[in-house]
Amino acid sequence: MDRKFSTLVAGAGISGVRAALDLAELGYRVLLIDKKASAGGILSQLDYQFPNDHCGMCRTLPMIDRNNGAQFCLRKGIFHKNITFMPGCEIETVKGTPGNLSISLKRSPLGVDPEKCTGCLSCESVCPVTVKEDFNGNLSQRKAIYLPVPHNIPNKRVIDFESCTKCGECVSECPTNAIDITKDVGIETIDGIGSVILATGTELYNPDGVDLYNTSKIKDVVTATAFERIMSSSGPYKGKIQRPSDGKEIKKVAFIQCVGSRNLMIGADYCSSVCCMFALKEAALLAEKTKSSDSAIFCMDLRTFSRDGERYKERVKEKGVRFIRSRIHSVEKDDSGNPSISYVDADGKQKSESFDLVVLSTGKSQNLTHPSFIENEGVFGISETPDFKEISDSMINSSFASSKAIQIAKEYDYETKKSSTQINDDDPKLHIILCSCGNLFKENVDLTKITEDISRIYGIGITTIDQACSLEGWSELKSIIDEKGVNRLIIGACNPQIFSTKLSDNSLLTEIITLAEHISDTESVDEATKSILSEIASSIGRLKKYTPQKVRSMNISKRALVLGGGISGLSSAKTLSDSGVPVTIVEKSDKLGGNLPFISDETVIKSIKNLIEKVSSDSNIDILFNSELSSHKGVPGKFESVISKENTELIVQTGSIIVATGGGKASFDDENERVKTTFDLSIELMEKKVDAKNIVMMQCKDSRVEPFNYCSRICCGKALDNAIKIKEQNPDAKITMFYRDIMAYGDIEKKYTEARRRGVIFKRFEKEKYPEVISNDNGFTIKAFDFILNEDIEIKADLLVYSTGVAPQVDNLEKTLKLKTTVDGFIKEVDFKFRPVDTGKEGIFICGLRRNPANASEAEKEGVSAAQRALRLLNSEILISSGQVAHVRHSICSRCNACVTACPYTARFVSVEDRKVYVDDISCQGCGTCASVCPNNATIIEGFEEKGILDSIEAALG
């Protein structure tokens, strides 16, 4: 039986990629499929991510054992030794049991053989079919044979058979016979798969056809994704920010929120979670790019519940973007042809305003469900329903799913042998192979001159082969390598990506030159020849001086230290232990469970208690109560931590550390027994009835304002739970909730709807004007302004409940472990979006409330995700370092420590014993910042030796 893939990951968006990499990094082979013709999912359309307004997707790539994957922009595609990507595939059925699933795939033909396609474009030029390009939000056009994602490599064309007329023009035009339009959709069955991860994501709500938005009649009404494409330099207008109708520069945009979300009429009783931040980001980008500042976001609540969301919103506001609390009824066209909308302003007045463009913040499409095989054993969904999630949440959920797949992979023994090829480090012996690509290069380049010059100056031989990309060409190439006994090779061809993947396993040092780039209609043969010559010379310079990458290995302390026995810490410990890693939990108090006493959801309580039980009885997990981390040293894989426990100290050696010290209720003090916090009330409600008749709930108490200018995420949901519970107990109780924005993201929206249905009254207040509370003998009077009724109101209450937010634990770990914190004291991830549980110090991970406010299930997932990241280090006894790392030539190092300061990964440290600077191979990512601040080359980056680079510059200019 073929047991090639431990896991099939369906969906190659960022979630699928994360899950696939999680498995691949641990040595499991993954089959990654996507129903589309390309990988990347929605992120392939988005160039920018909040909060830094750039991409950063590459930070998802493996940092340990980097040699197994390609080290380049992830938006080009996903390349890893252990990942096989199959585009145009969908799962039909899943049969069998975990460890031996049989999966039938529906494979749609792509029409073009990627092995043969050279991306020459001749097919596109003859294709008679023109259709709207969905990649660009239908704002541009493409042919039926086309490139699905412009920045993907290899840049292989595919055929969109839905619009293809099968005229056959492209087939006869293709110079490499790469096109086949005869194939039909096929079913392929793959057996022996361990598990399936469903990361198919969701679809966007389609507003076309909704009479209110008039997308068909008004061209300048577009979706948020289309607007993102408008702002992209690879978009329909090549980055010129112009509107579709007349090409006028876009300066003023109206963003209409909740299009397709929070709408019972279309069955969308949910919040799509990401659209608010999406709109904020787009408004910020537009303001930045066009220096205009008159855009407006029309919303109900502005759901800025993610990290930095609150402050980001304020920054956007400072740029002049207006936030208007009015859901929009419809879009019309004004007399000048601009889209125009009416809204109610803060004074309850109706206003009408025209914009250059209206952007519809479309949420997820309604009524989507997972396919029925999600119920099968061994199939794991990244989310419970097809859903949109903020990238960091997606990453965490992905790793949560992959950790289950890993359990299966481990149980059924799918692991591949880890290997790292040692490149031949004999004296450099170079050879050059040039592909003449049919007659293309013969006609446009003077190959004789190139051969002569290279031989005269460098004494290096050149062999020309006809079509290196063909099968014959490939075997010819291999025989030349064997015959010449070379250990370093330069390949000049038109489509070098083919070789870079094919040759990656070889023990050759290879440089690949794109010959096609030197040939164009405007260049003469002489110029092309000269240009290629200097590129070859440049490669020679570099290749000669490459130091073969040394494979180093290190023994790992196969144990993890989990700081904190709360929910996230427990789930971390459990995941690690299940993977065979012994764990030491350090818990400050005398029991496990952390915030368990403040959780009111019975099912959650049950599952935490269950977790506590499992962890307590796990012989692989040591628990140290009443103890704390007092000091720490060492490198990833070999940390040494000193734990102080009741006046004694003990030393624990671990390969990794997980920080899960948590957090809790922000401090709040009120003696009055008729004043409670939302958290306390939720606990009280579990046991007894609340007899108050008039209850006022006040959200965002000392929260989302400086100095605690962040959303605690969980208070709104909890307050809604409380309100519903009270209404269940006593339908006549009058509950009024004062809020700034109800942060009912995702399915919490359902609770908001339910609370309203039950008659809970909601009153919004502004940040600047917290409702005034006057306490008297009978209770309280709350004075506020009602924006709906447009009048001052007074509400009596006999119970006042405050949502006081969440604060991180004060534990000094940021100092002990030298971690970065946010201004609010949470431990900062190295990349909030793409590496949400990485601290930036390799081997140390962060999860739970110490990282960010989270509810119990979010915290649990973070814990698993952090454990999953730690497993990259702890999965094997020996860690093989990647190539291309820095090392120090101690004999000439002057120890100025400039490199230590410069290193972004704290991979460098000064030894206390000998004051020398050392590099930790595992943490080092080979960025070379250290080398460039080192004046005398005492620091060297493998593969980027200065001499090689200088020689290649010299040769390039020769």
Binding site: L212, C258, R262, N263, L264, M265, M300, R325, S326, R327, I328, H329, S330, I341, S342, Y343, V344, G348, K349, Q350, Y752, T753, R756, R757, R758, G759, I761, F762, R764, D786, F787, I788, L789, N790
Partner: protein
């Protein structure tokens, strides 16, 4: 009407298909943004719903707010919670004492119940006008054979009339009939209770509305007419 006085607008207002009670309102402002008269004399559909939720019925009943609404229903067409805003407005109107109903609509309702049309046009006047207009049509070339059909059985369309068409703007009737004649469409006009405009809709008077509708149903059954043409 007596019983309903004990109930609130919340209880009385009819629900739309998704059973969306006013409480579901999340004060998003879609209705107010789309309403053609938001802001005029303090009118704001969102505010009306808000007051209903809080049980401020009496205030609404006493104000002129429910009477400002044109009942165009643009608001509820877009309401994401499916709240029946016009239903709410009608319910409030219905709670207003009949003598406080503004303008002539309640008087019209009373006249209609009494005389069969909103303006109290005596039936001899009606017969004369219909005959007269019918002759006017027949005077034109190609329409010579036309005669206004009254109480004709088995016609395809029952043609109820807007009182205005009979009273002041009967040239519109000429157009209609010419079209019918040209299209060879069979229709009939009831000789009594011919009023096609049900002012109970606007005054919130469900009982009267029901009576007026009942009369039309009666006509259709009696005359075995399949389709109804309504002037609104």
């Amino acid at each position: 009407m007596e019983n309903s006085k004990d109930k609130t607008v919340k209880d009385l207002a009819p629900l739309r298909d998704i059973k969306s009670s006013p409480e579901l309102c999340m004060s998003c402002g879609t209705c107010s943004a789309g309403c053609p008269i938001t802001g005029q004399d303090g009118f704001d559909p969102r505010k009306i719903v808000g007051m209903v939720i809080e049980g401020r019925d009496q205030e609404l009943v006493e104000s002129n707010l429910p009477w400002l609404c044109t009942m165009c229903a643009k608001c509820e067409h877009a309401c994401p919670m499916g709240i029946n805003i016009t239903g709410i407005v009608r319910t409030i109107r219905g709670l207003v004492d009949r003598d406080k109903v503004p303008g002539m609509i309640h008087k019209g309702v009373e006249l209609c119940l009494e005389t069969g049309n909103n303006i109290g046009l005596p039936s001899e006047d009606f017969d004369f006008i219909i005959e007269d207009v019918g002759e006017e049509v027949a005077e034109e070339e190609g329409y010579e054979e036309f005669a206004a059909p009254i109480d004709k059985e088995n016609a395809n369309i029952l043609h109820t009339l807007h009182n205005k068409l009979v009273n002041t703007q009967n040239e519109d009737l000429v157009h209609w009939w010419k079209i019918f004649h040209a299209a060879d469409e069979s229709f009939t006009i009831p000789s009594e209770n011919w009023e096609g405009v049900n002012w109970g809709l606007f005054s919130g008077d469900d009982e009267s509305m029901k009576t007026v509708v009942g009369r039309i149903v009666e006509h259709m059954e009696k005359l075995k007419v399949k389709n109804l043409m309504y002037p609104e």
